[in-house]
């Protein structure tokens, strides 16, 4: 019993700042403005702009997860062949640590400076006869946002995937070679299957990362709320229509449901990874 006292602070803290907020969202989604139970919030999710925001968010996240995972994995492997503790590895890892977390406002501004109406590339292209300044492609979920999101997905992939790639032991390659296997055989039969669960797991993590992102799109898009986090943000910061006070909570619950499915898959893959790459 005495041993349990040691974990009280942790459980108290996470109850207040994680447990209670979660319960507020879950129960709030089924309550109306005056606290009576209702399913009205859930049926309000069928509004066309909310449905399209969910679709946009899901497709955007899936596409950038795949792009980020593929390019990120290439980068990870390239970095893992560098000397451990060397400058390149240290530099790339630190840079990725910053860029993966630094989405948001900075990233939006960086892209405005690059391909916005007065951006570096936009002006350069203009000089060469290609006019992008009038186009709104940067603010569209399937064009601009894909590009911008990929920018933080690749570094996140490196951070998540590097430990798995580092777990590949040189002895395995040597063993493959001494049995007459080629580089292709090594990747096809040894490293590939070992890394596959971590790769897929990392990709799922990238999906939830993009799905949850709010700040980047908020800073970039000034008109409309094409993705679901912006829709939820709108319900918090603007006047809500009577009877729809808790629609934001229902949307939030919808997001959690989608992320929960993805993370369950992730947990299954993770269990397999630790079985194969574990100590």
């Amino acid at each position: 019993m005495g041993a349990l006292l040691g974990v009280v602070p942790f459980f108290a803290y996470t109850t207040i700042f994680l447990g209670i907020p979660t319960l507020i969202v879950v129960f709030g989604a089924f309550l109306d403005g005056s606290g009576r139970p209702t399913l009205g919030n859930l049926s309000a999710l069928a509004q066309p702009q909310i449905v399209s925001a969910f679709v946009h968010s899901t497709v955007l996240s899936a596409v950038t997860a795949v792009l980020g995972a593929v390019f990120g994995a290439l980068l990870t492997y390239a970095v893992s062949t560098a000397r451990e503790g060397g400058l390149l590895r240290r530099l790339v890892t630190s840079l990725c640590g910053v860029l993966a977390q630094f989405g948001g406002v900075t990233l939006a501004f960086a892209f405005l400076a690059t391909v916005g109406a007065q951006g570096f590339i936009t002006l350069w292209l203009q000089k060469h006869g290609i006019d992008l300044a009038g186009s709104t492609w940067l603010y569209e979920p399937y064009k601009g946002l894909v590009l911008v999101y990929t920018y933080f997905q690749i570094p996140l992939m490196l951070i998540v995937f590097l430990p798995a790639v580092e777990g590949l032991r040189p002895q395995w390659r040597e063993a493959t070679e001494s049995l007459g296997g080629s580089t292709w055989d090594y990747w096809r039969h040894v490293a590939g299957p070992i890394l596959a669960p971590s790769f897929a797991g990392a990709m799922l993590l990238l999906f939830t990362n993009a799905f949850s992102a709010y700040a980047t799109a908020f800073a970039l898009i000034s008109q409309g709320s094409p993705i679901i986090p912006l829709q939820i943000g709108g319900t918090l910061s603007s006047e809500v229509i009577l009877g729809q006070e808790n629609v934001g909570k229902a949307m939030a619950l919808g997001m959690v449901a989608i992320v929960a499915v993805v993370m369950t898959l992730y947990a299954v893959l993770q269990r397999r990874t630790t079985k194969w790459l574990g100590p």
């Binding site: 840079l95 400076a113 580089t183």
Partner: protein, 272 residues
């Protein structure tokens, strides 16, 4: 040529190509930010924007929101790291030593914020923060409570990797049998052995807090990112310069800390 030497050369060509190409993609927006912030009105280059950004007097007088944001983020970074370490390191060590049955539960709770997007957390935290404001006031510094939750998964992973790499049980038992109390075990045995993990958990937290926008913005509190975003509506060039400066600062912190982590000996940041 020996196959291994050939492979090493192939790997190094591959490495240079991939790092260069992906590096180009990452460099382009950064270069564009530099280009954008050094434009002179009639064409040509000027450093006026940067001179303004580093002129403390001008920032203080004309852009007070930026100063407030910088100070708030500095405080938030410190408080978040301190709470995170005091909450996680003892709990995770204790669970490994005495309550292995709870390990899955603690892991589940720590990874839970990954399934709860920040925007969802904001929805649920709104009533909790009404109480925080009631007891502690409306200061931006209390955002640190929410930030600790945001960094939990990353910090947990880093610390868990560190604790897995050492034999916590044997170390603790050895220390205990020599007469050490639990605080001594934590402070003098466990911490020095997981200092790299503690540091990497701390950098991840620092980077995350410096970049956080969602919660601060929706609760109408101040932090660096909120300030930069506000500045964007007023003075685009200066806002982009501030954003780039923040990015460079975070990068320098990360690189510096990665060197500290492999240094001879590192001291834990003092408790404030």
């Amino acid at each position: 040529m020996k196959p291994r030497a050939a492979r090493r050369r192939r790997q190094s060509i591959f490495r240079v190509t991939v790092v260069a190409l992906i590096g180009l993609f990452f460099a382009l927006p950064i270069v564009s930010m530099i280009e954008f912030t050094t434009r002179a009105p009639g064409g040509g280059r000027t450093l006026d924007v940067w001179a303004t950004l580093f002129d403390v007097g001008v920032i203080d007088a004309d852009y007070p929101e930026l100063k407030t944001g910088i100070l708030a983020s500095a405080g938030l970074t410190l408080l978040t790291v301190v709470i995170m370490l005091f909450l996680l390191v003892p709990t995770m060590t204790w669970v490994r030593l005495r309550l292995p049955a709870l390990r899955r539960t603690v892991e589940f709770i720590c990874l839970l914020p990954l399934t709860i997007p920040a925007i969802v957390l904001v929805v649920g935290l709104a009533p909790v923060y009404a109480w925080v404001a009631y007891f502690l006031g409306e200061s931006s510094i209390w955002l640190a409570f929410a930030y600790v939750v945001l960094v939990l998964p990353y910090a947990y992973r880093a610390l868990d990797a560190g604790l897995s790499a050492i034999d916590v049980k044997t170390l603790a038992e050895a220390a205990r049998s020599l007469g050490a109390g639990w605080p001594t075990v934590m402070w003098r045995i466990i911490l020095p052995n997981v200092r790299t993990a503690v540091l990497s958990a701390s950098f991840l937290s620092v980077a995350l807090v410096l970049g956080e926008f969602t919660i601060a913005s929706l609760f109408s509190r101040d932090n660096l990112q909120v300030a930069i975003n506000q500045l964007g509506h007023r003075d685009g060039s200066l806002a982009i310069a501030a954003a780039l400066a923040a990015l460079i600062l975070a990068f320098i912190v990360m690189v510096a800390m990665s060197f500290v982590g492999t240094g001879r000996r590192s001291h834990r940041p003092e408790e404030n």
